[in-house]
Subunit: 253 residues, 2 copies
């Protein structure tokens, strides 16, 4: 990756250093907002309490998410500034593996930022990037927050909304869409309303969903439906909260 | 306050909205850094888990901090970008009540930011603001991180270091100074090395230290020394961690 940090992968703080570097580059490129920086900090705190690793329930959620994406008629990956800054290549690869659309969708929408993010994704290999037309509206949200593409998120039956705000996560759910949410706070409204909440760092979660999607690429519809049916969202949220409360920090003090 | 947000004080999200507004104003004035925004987000997450209130052990810590400041020969309040953005008036008032110096001390030091922060504090009523001379060094830190004023932090016997980074908190402790740390993460290195760790939001902690300082202004040296001796830092850290793990979030779900 062109804007990669020069840190050896076995460095104990590798992930944290890469994250900081990508976020800084995102600020320089105009794709990470002030609210995005604050959100990054909130994520860091929750990840710290989770032990900075993918817990088993998050891995099960990632597998269920992959099954939903493979079963969907029209899966879409919703991308905001932090997602674009942190995992641009992963978004592009996941879209390729699952046949999903990519749509830029911002909480603090400006045409300039939408364009900068779309450019950034194309630099990382994306073909079509939606979100610029903005010719449809999610019902129940204020004008700017509601803007989506008619042939993108508006039409999707499965949406991956990583790091989404609660209002929109709720509004998309009310449209009857299956929602896969990536969020480090199991108590956040986005996580609480998701069909599949993945309580994990997006840097670990997206590659993990992709790994499962590749693994399940030859699976039958019946097999995929069984994975979806078996996934217990309440149990996943409870397991994450328990880990947060009792978890890894106390162990490695 | 001139840059105050227009939100009624009884609004349920008053504190959060004021915080966001002050941080945004800080960015516009060039006093809040990118790292400061990420740190603000980490603080928000920990405060959320603490229940966004001053827990009893944090109130005891604030009282011990006030006693240390009143007992000190040369107390200094160290101010970084987030502290200046969030609680400028409170810093000035606390300095007045306790006879402390104010010194700007930055992790990401630039002359421009030091000057902008000093100006911001003066706009909020500060007299002398130290940190611009930078003619002494804290031993054991790299050049830029080590810069302090010879007649300020270098000479202090008690230092309030709110939102400090771990390396400097440790180095200041090794100089034999009494350190009062305000930090929302009881497991952070700064909190762990502090003489008095106040595990609380700085917006609540500084007014609280000031209230105790006013309350104790007539106390004898013996009374102040008793308060300092009674304060149990390990118990305060444990209580905060327990609250974080088991606390308010589960209760108000």
């Amino acid at each position: 990756m062109s804007d990669e940090v020069d840190v050896p992968e076995d460095h104990p703080r590798y992930q944290s250093l890469v994250t900081r570097h990508r976020i800084e580059a995102g600020v320089e490129k105009g794709i990470t907002s002030m609210q995005g920086l604050i959100a990054e900090g909130r994520g860091e705190a929750f990840d710290y309490l989770l032990g900075e690793e993918t817990i088993p329930s998050a891995d099960r959620a990632a597998r269920a998410a992959a099954a939903h994406f493979l079963l969907g008629d029209h899966p879409v990956i919703s991308v905001n500034g932090n997602v674009a800054a942190l995992v641009p290549e992963e978004v592009v690869e996941l879209a390729e593996v699952t046949g999903a659309d990519i749509e830029v969708n911002l909480f603090g929408r400006t045409e300039e930022r939408v364009r900068a993010i779309a450019d950034h994704l194309r630099e990382h290999g994306a073909g079509e990037v939606k979100g610029l037309t903005a010719d449809a509206r999610i019902p129940g949200l204020s004008h700017e927050r509601a803007k989506v593409d008619a042939d993108g998120i508006y039409d999707a039956d499965v949406v991956l909304v990583p790091l989404e705000d609660g209002d929109r996560a709720e509004a998309l759910g009310e449209m009857g869409k299956k929602e896969v949410v990536v969020d480090l706070n199991p108590l956040s409204r986005s996580a609480q309303v998701a069909t599949v909440p993945i309580i994990d760092n997006i840097l670990r979660a997206l590659p993990n969903v992709m790994r499962h999607a590749r693994d399940l690429s030859g699976a039958s519809r019946t097999e995929l439906e069984a994975i979806v049916a078996e996934f217990d969202r309440e149990a996943a949220l409870d397991a994450a909260e328990q880990r947060l409360r009792e978890g890894a920090v106390a162990d490695d003090e």
